[in-house]
């Protein structure tokens, strides 16, 4: 990758991936509310309806359960739907089809079918949309065997992982943090894939491992930059995938650094960080741990409307800095 790579925003990267998938395979269809002429609530599908027509970029009625179920039925019988929830919060209406049907159908039928379905979930807080439009519910789906669940953090990864997801024979759930949509980064042209089950060490360090998901990867990297100036070398692991979780990469990192912080936006209790922590605590890395495992997760509250409260409800860079300093300097 020596040639200069063009930059795209995260949402442009998603759109490009969907366009490539649709060009390569006419079974790929997009479904969702207002993804056609409106271009999607977050303008991710944009003008794809103009390129591929309303038969392949289908506006669904406001029927999340039914829409998701249609996608499941279509996937089982030969299409390759990419279904967009307008906000991940609305997936609460469709858990039946996602969890009882899509995730289990292959297993329940003894392997007789596959469900090559991709679902996209715009998630997270930070837009002032309050409690019903700001949740991070990836832990729910991460708990469900039969699904694959990913949280790409960069334009590069979201394009490559979405293309991998479309090619995957099983249901893949993609959580996209809304605040990432406008974030830019290098994105290769054409078709490429990024594995759905590998974490990525995004910064090497020796003092503490910070495992972060989605937008928290960027906050962790920012914190790591500041920590370096203080002489603390943080290793930042971008988890990328929460089902399956790449235990190997995390374990190796913790064995090296002997300290672990998990940073995630979902509610702290029973969130992704709980699993990371537990995974390390039961692994061979346990014996290497020099300090308690710290979790920085979302507050035990719904997301409030007021912007200052809203920020206070999820981990921020200063929280990561403070936790890292405490942990490395042994304050706790």
């Amino acid at each position: 990758m020596n040639a200069p790579v063009r930059e795209l925003s995260y949402s442009q990267a998603i759109k490009e991936a969907m366009a490539i998938a649709m060009e390569n395979d006419e079974r790929v269809v997009l479904m969702g509310e207002d993804i056609g002429v409106y271009g999607g609530a977050f303008q991710v599908t944009g003008d794809l309806v103009e390129r591929f027509g309303t038969d392949r970029v289908m506006d669904t009625p406001i029927s999340e359960l039914g829409g998701a179920g249609v996608a499941v039925g279509a996937a089982v019988t030969g299409l390759r739907p990419i279904f967009e929830f307008q906000f991940s919060d609305f997936a609460a209406l469709a858990m039946e089809q996602i969890v009882n049907q899509a995730a289990k159908m292959r297993y329940m039928l003894g392997g007789a079918v596959s469900v090559p379905l991709v679902m996209r979930f715009p998630a997270g807080s930070g837009t002032g949309a309050a409690a019903q439009h700001s949740q991070s519910l990836e832990a729910w789906l991460g708990h469900v065997p039969g699904l694959k669940v990913i949280q790409p953090a960069t334009p590069h990864d979201v394009k490559g992982m979405l293309l991998a997801a479309v090619a995957d024979p099983d249901p893949v759930m993609i959580f996209e943090h809304k605040l990432l949509y406008k974030m830019k980064g290098p994105v290769p042209e054409g078709h490429y894939t990024v594995p759905l089950d590998k974490a990525d060490v995004r910064r090497q360090g020796r003092d503490v491992t910070i495992v972060a998901t989605s937008i928290m990867v960027h906050k962790a990297l920012e914190a790591a930059g500041q920590l370096a100036a203080e002489g603390i070398e943080a290793e930042v692991v971008d988890l990328r995938s929460i089902r399956p979780i790449d235990g190997e990469t995390i374990i190796a990192s913790v064995k090296k650094t002997t300290r672990l912080i998990c940073v995630y936006e979902g509610v702290k209790t029973l969130g992704v960080g709980a699993e990371i922590s537990a995974l390390i605590a039961e692994s061979e890395a346990f014996d290497y741990l020099d300090a308690p495992i710290v979790r920085l997760g979302g507050s035990e509250t719904p997301i409030p409307y007021n912007p200052e409260l809203e920020k206070a409800a999820v981990p921020q860079v200063p929280d990561i800095l403070a936790a890292s300093r405490d942990l490395v300097r042994g304050a706790r």
Binding site: E33, D34, G36, V37, Y38, G39, A41, Q43, D59, P61, I62, S63, E64, L65, G66, D89, F90, L93, T127, G128, A129, A130, A131, Q132, H133, S299, E300, T301, P302, P304, Y305, N306, P307, E308, L309, A312, A313
Partner: protein, 351 residues
């Protein structure tokens, strides 16, 4: 207003000639009540214009859904309701909230994220509520209020409170499973609830023709064995009459009604709308030829209830109320960060 409405019938607006030929509200409400309704319709519109401007100035964050153009629907439906009656509202709920009796100052305060707001700054536009005047809340989930309204009506029936519950929802919401389940249960149990579909032609960008397999939402009432009524949602009296009939039916214990108000929103769906799915002509036609406030004011003059000057005075009073409301909101305090976890539970859990 129901009790007053009945009282008023005796001294309803005095008319030249035969009053019984006049549209419903002019036969039913006093001049004072009619002007109060106009006041609230202006309040809705100016509140939303004020919110829009405040948003543009960065005083409000997030998003909001304006109901400008739909004022007659909110107001007409609420006219026959008493303060004790309850409503559930939608993401496009400012009008419902004001029509049911909320104060704009506390609504602005909520939008500004202040402690004096109806939701203490935790809810914002999408969760605006005033439980004291019977508004159980806007809802960020399309269709979310439908079963909740049925539950409120169940309480009314079980505890014999005599309350009626009105459930507002949009044309888009009628395709949610919650609509189906809620209407069926309300009908099976004959609950005192009125379902009000504000059909503004679109759910976000998707026209009812593209989303809905029937021409009118009210056509679906038959599937629940309940009356389905279609009204011009931009004519206050027609809306109020339909509401009156449905509310009385509910109070008599005869069960639910589905009212469909055909109306239109002037603004985009929300702050992110680029309006690619409606023509300029269509929008202007509604704005220029069917504005609910203009039509109501014309009738008030035509039937000799108020002069242009008196109508202008209403608008002016509203302007001052709005300005004062914004001022109140601006000056109210921001929540303390330490209160982040307040009201997650009623009694905080002692761990």
């Amino acid at each position: 207003m129901a009790a007053q409405a009945r009282a008023a019938q005796a001294d309803a607006v005095p008319q030249d000639g035969d009053a019984s030929n006049l549209p419903f509200i002019y036969r039913t409400y006093s001049r004072e009540q009619l002007l109060a309704a106009l006041h609230r319709m202006h309040l809705i519109r100016q509140f939303e214009e004020g919110a829009e401007e405040s948003y543009m100035r960065g005083l409000i964050h997030g998003t909001m859904h304006l109901s400008i153009g739909q004022e007659a629907s909110a107001m007409g439906i609420c006219m026959p309701l008493s303060k004790e009656d309850q409503i559930t509202s939608t993401h496009r709920g400012h009008g419902h909230c004001i029509a049911k009796g909320a104060e704009v100052s506390r609504m602005f305060a909520e939008f500004f994220g202040k402690t004096t707001g109806y939701c203490a700054g935790r809810g914002g536009s999408m969760h605006i509520a005033d439980v004291t005047t019977g508004n159980l809340g806007a809802n960020g989930i399309v269709g979310g209020g439908l079963p909740i309204a049925v539950g409120a009506a169940l309480t009314a029936k079980r505890l014999k409170t005599g309350k009626v519950v009105v459930c507002f929802f949009g044309d888009g919401a009628n395709n949610e499973g919650a609509f189906h389940e809620a209407l069926n249960m309300a009908a099976v149990w004959k609950l005192p609830v009125v379902f009000v579909c504000e059909n503004n032609g679109y759910g976000m960008s998707t026209s009812t023709a593209r989303s809905t397999a029937v021409a009118n939402i009210a056509d679906r009432a038959a599937a629940y064995g309940m009356p389905g009524v279609i009204v011009d949602g931009n004519v206050l009296s027609d809306v109020a009459e339909a509401s009156h009939d449905a509310v009385e039916r509910a109070r008599r214990g005869e069960g639910p009604t589905l009212i469909e108000c055909k109306t239109y929103r002037y603004r985009g769906h929300s702050k992110s709308d680029r309006n690619r799915y409606r023509t300029k002509d269509e929008i202007e036609d509604w704005m220029n030829n069917r504005d609910p406030i203009v039509r109501y004011e014309a009738q008030l003059q035509e039937f000799g209830i108020a002069t242009r000057g008196e109508l202008d005075a209403v608008q002016e009073a509203v302007r001052q109320e709005i300005a004062a409301g914004i001022e109140f909101a601006k000056e109210s305090p921001m929540p303390e960060l330490s209160g982040l976890a307040d009201n997650v539970y009623t009694a905080e859990v002692s761990r």
